[in-house]
């Protein structure tokens, strides 16, 4: 349903625009769609309960096709023409970094959902970018958690990595997994790459099999995880598989239930949490689709924004930004406590999930240090 042009005059004062950007088309559309649905569902609920500060909220979602240039255009439009109070999204670091200059030009805050590159909120010199925020944890953290858990808790010392060379997220996780794993005395016995779009991983896996690792780290998204896990088992690799927050999805279990049995991955939350259940049920009831991981983070982004607006007592973007800097709100993925120096959520423990009998079973909260 296309968003209408902003209304004129008094009526306009009654409705506040909030922007969302992300992939509704292109290869990341699965995740983008879920985010958009979540954001729209939540604001509908907020509006039904009287809105924020007594005002109704309208969500204006724009597609970016997963392209940084499109993201820039979309945010330009949101901030200038649609006069949004804040932007939620996007769901990838490349776009999030590209839009930061527009946010700064127009002085509108943006809350990224699943942009895990550290550079999304801080620049090269380590200075925080004034208008960029996020609700997820960052690549180094996730990579370190996975490596730490593999060495310290599971007691592995020989790891292999298969990663997507064309994907920033995958490269980020790989880099920090490797660093931590080696730092803790482990050895990387094989590190193989593939390129986004590949569907066959057997050449790399055959090589990994030769290296005989105890654990195989797979920092990429569930479709490739499912394919590569199946192929790994087919080739007779019996190492424990590990991954990051790209894993959780119903598709993974449908496609590779047996292959991923007994695997571990780093997640933002425990899916069995009762609070999570309510959201999941509501979402599935409304859209007849499973919730992807991005949905939970979009949920938290909305929560964070709502609380910041209430705290600011205004829809002025700069005031919202000021409130965001010190926001502290309970989200679905844990307590979101924004650090004013990094604009990242602080002290968010990661949840370690193990796949047991075709189910995501929460193991423990774990934090890297």
């Amino acid at each position: 349903e296309p968003a209408d042009a902003p209304e004129e005059g008094e009526a306009a004062a009654e409705v506040i625009n909030i922007g969302w950007i992300g992939s509704l088309t292109g290869d990341q559309a699965v995740w983008g769609n879920c985010e958009k649905n979540t954001v729209e569902m939540m604001f509908e609920e907020i509006n039904e309960n009287g809105g924020i500060l007594g005002k109704q909220i309208r969500v204006i979602p724009y597609d970016t096709r997963g392209d940084a240039m499109e993201a820039v255009n979309a945010v330009r439009r949101l901030t200038s023409q649609d006069k949004v109070a804040a932007v939620i999204g996007p769901n990838a670091s490349g776009q999030a970094i590209a839009i930061s200059s527009v946010l700064e030009d127009m002085e509108v805050p943006g809350i990224a959902t699943v942009a895990t590159n550290p550079k999304v909120t801080v620049d090269d010199n380590g200075d925080v970018k004034p208008f960029n925020f996020r609700v997820c944890f960052i690549d180094p953290y996730q990579g370190a958690v996975a490596a730490g858990y593999a060495v310290d808790v599971l007691g592995f010392s020989k790891a292999a990595i298969l990663y997507d060379v064309a994907d920033d997220y995958s490269q980020g996780l790989t880099e920090f997994f490797e660093k931590t794993f080696v730092g803790k005395g482990g050895e990387i016995v094989a590190k193989e790459g593939f390129k986004f779009g590949d569907v066959d991983f057997r050449p790399q896996l055959s090589k990994i099999k030769e290296a005989d690792p105890e654990v195989l780290f797979m920092p990429y998204f569930f479709k490739e995880v499912a394919l590569s896990a199946n192929q790994a088992r087919e080739l007779g690799i019996d190492a424990v598989l590990m991954g990051g927050d790209g894993w959780p999805s119903e598709v993974l279990l449908e496609m590779a239930e047996e292959a991923v049995e007994g695997s571990y991955f780093v997640n933002h939350l425990d899916f069995a949490d009762p609070e999570v259940q309510d959201f999941k049920d509501a979402y599935t009831a409304k859209y007849n689709l499973p919730v992807e991981l991005n949905g939970y983070l979009a949920y938290d982004a909305v929560k964070l924004l709502e609380s910041a607006i209430i705290q600011a007592g205004s829809f002025d973007p700069v005031e919202i930004r000021d409130a965001l800097k010190t926001a502290n709100v309970k989200g679905i993925t844990g307590q979101i406590n924004i650090n004013p120096d990094t604009h990242n959520p602080e002290g968010k423990d990661a949840a370690i999930i193990k796949i047991i009998d075709g189910d995501y079973v929460f193991q423990q909260k774990y934090s890297a240090d």
Partner: protein
């Protein structure tokens, strides 16, 4: 040694995936002389048709497979009607066909995203996932099936083109639509047949890919590699397409296995250039001296 053999098997199975796509693409190329970039889109739709027939309509695999192939054939023929025929009637240069094909490919991918949604869909399991085990070497059942099917479709196509009257008319039409018409060939029908055959092959490939790799709107992107493979083998030559595909698959696998998986595609590209410098029309392509 067994690792090496395993890599060869891996290469052959990847190669047969490329081959399955490359023959359909090469067939259309051989008559229309342009790269049908919408071929991937047709493969994708074929995969979806098979999926929905098996899940929503609960048809048995063979029926779904056949219907998906026919459906994809019809789609290819429809695309020809809408996107290419008007150009053909005007004798437009090949560039225009390519652009039209790209438009079609963008259209197909996004119409699926907009209507069915971008979600990944998993085919019901038809073939057991336990591979054939030959000592330490394993061969997936679906891979074996694909290998056989690409071989069979190649033989079938070669038979049609080399041994039947329709085949000769296809070659004649490929050279000159106008002259074929003067021989009494219904060139529209020939082109219909060629696109239909290409589409049916795309449907077959689509269902097999869907089973192997799940179904999603971008599944057709795999065809990029098969285009390269077809060029490798010599555009328009069906045996060339298959040989090019198998070679590309094996080369990629060996590069990834023994050199660098990160730079695998780079090496495949360098090899492609090397082959083209050595033989400017690919391995099996005819080298024709331009006669003045």
């Amino acid at each position: 040694m067994s690792a090496f053999l395993q890599q060869i098997i891996n290469g052959l199975s990847i190669g047969s995936v490329y081959a399955l796509m490359a023959v359909g693409y090469s067939l259309v190329y051989s008559i229309m002389n342009f790269s049908n970039f919408a071929h991937g889109g047709v493969i994708m739709i074929g995969a979806y048709i098979g999926f929905f027939l098996m899940t929503a309509f609960e048809l048995p695999f063979i029926a779904a497979f056949g219907l998906a192939a026919i459906g994809a054939g019809l789609l290819a023929v429809t695309l020809e009607r809408i996107a290419y025929r008007p150009l053909r009637k005007r004798n437009a240069p090949f560039l225009y066909f390519i652009i039209s094909a790209m438009g079609a490919s963008i259209f197909l991918e996004n119409i699926v995203i907009a209507t069915i949604g971008p979600t990944f869909r998993t085919y019901p399991r038809v073939f057991s996932t336990t591979p054939f085990q030959l000592g330490a070497i394993s061969l997936g059942r679906l891979d074996a099936v694909m290998f056989i099917i690409s071989g069979l479709s190649l033989l079938l196509l070669i038979y049609i083109i080399e041994k039947t009257k329709t085949g000769m008319a296809i070659k004649a039409t490929a050279y000159s639509i106008r002259a074929s018409t003067l021989m009494g060939v219904n060139t529209d029908r020939i082109i219909f047949i060629v696109f239909g055959l290409g589409g049916v092959l795309a449907g077959v490939a689509g269902v097999l890919f869907g089973m192997k790799y799940t179904v999603y709107p971008q599944i057709g992107f795999i065809t990029m590699k098969s285009f390269i493979a077809a060029v490798f083998g010599g555009l328009g030559s069906l045996p060339g397409a298959v040989i090019g595909s198998i070679l590309l698959g094996v080369i990629e696998t060996l590069t990834a296995g023994y050199f660098s998986s990160q730079y695998r595609d780079l090496i495949a590209f360098v090899l492609l250039i090397a082959v083209l410098i050595w033989r400017p029309s690919g391995l099996m392509g005819k080298i024709t001296e331009d006669k003045a």
